[in-house]
Amino acid sequence: MSNSFDGMHPYEPEIGSFEDVEAGTDEDVTAKTGTTTVGVSTEDGVVIGTDRRASLGGRFVSNKNVQKVEQIHPTAALTLVGSVGGAQSFIRTLRAESNLYEQRRGKPLSIHGLATLAGNFARGGPFFAINPILGGVDDEGSHVYSIDPAGGVMEDDYTVTGSGMQLAHGTLEGNYDPSLSIEEAEGLVASAVYAASERDTGSGNGLVVATITEDGVEIEEYDDATELISA
């Protein structure tokens, strides 16, 4: 009785519903991002960097100009990693839920709330092979989360997902510092994406950087990652 009228389902979007797609449908034939996406949190904000390549099985470049980081909240962005269709649908769903939350309550969802929601959707939804990074800024400061295909949500100072993750991690380890300025963090992120683009066949074709501060999200594209790497 108490749920018969308007009990909200905790694991599903309020707008629309999850499609009934079988696991594995997205494998093999569909475009994958391959990808290297890097998120770094600093005291002043969060910097996210991604490459721009979409590939089929990491062996054929199906698109050379993909923007793999999107704003989903006034002060948060999410990367597309894995199945392009799954990741795009995931982003649209989270953006709608975040907008609805803010319109109803007059204040944006916290980044932890957004990460929890993303984890619930990844676990319960038809998105499967996605592994995005969520970066954002709220009252409590800067946050970077990785979200795995099974709905795992892990916060860290910096994180990498995608086929180039090991190469990018090599660049970040030892060079990360929480007191980095935004400009220094952009340079570090560019170096990490550059290293992965040079050696991972699923990553390449330039760089997209999203810089998130309490003022909002700014996204810039670069044809060559080295443009941002200081000497």
Binding site: M1, N3, F5, D6, G7, M8, R105, H112, L117
Partner: protein
Amino acid sequence: MQGNNQQQAYDRGITIFSPDGRLYQVEYAREAVERGSASVGVRTPDGVVLAADRQTRSSLIEEESIEKIHSIDTHVGVATAGHVADARQLVDFARQQAQVEQLRYEEPIGVETLTKRVTDHIQQYTQTGGARPFGVSLIVGGVENGRPRLFEADPSGTPYEWKAIAVGRGQQDIQGHLEEEYDEDSDLAGGIDLALEALAVEADDLDAGSVHVSTVDVESEQFETLSTEQISDHLAELDIGGESDE
């Protein structure tokens, strides 16, 4: 005769407006609230106070079993007036919504969000064929991001935010007292005193055993219920009410 029949028709279908735009069943539900013993809520900068008169119809009833104030989550509670059984349904709905918020966002539900979930639920019972409205008003009090918040949910499903509010029997007189005596800068103990004084306006034999007082203070953000001894101390200091049985 014809007119009389029409009048009855507006009475019976709650989804039907009367010619002058009223929903009689909703108004009757407000009457049901007026018949219930009173509850009050007081907001102070240090937290919110919920207080209720658990009037008993027999000395043999266990006063503890009369449920007027309910914890919804650790940081928010509800005081009620009207049909107890209807109140229990809404209280359980509110408890579920508080946990849905935790599952969905891993966050405590805001007092305003919780109130609006409940009032949206109540509203549907004023527009759905075959249903009747809830014969109860709720006072929802709690702490949200370090701020004390106090709301009312009435049988029409309208949410209101208050500094101090009374519902139930003698509502007008009690509200009048709150309006005269409310102090924006009162501490939590002062809020408890004001709530007890307000209840005493209507109940002349107020004693510690028949009053339920709960608080949510901004420091701990915890819903807590005062012991009978604590209420006795407040009543003794205020010099109101009858003798406690202890």
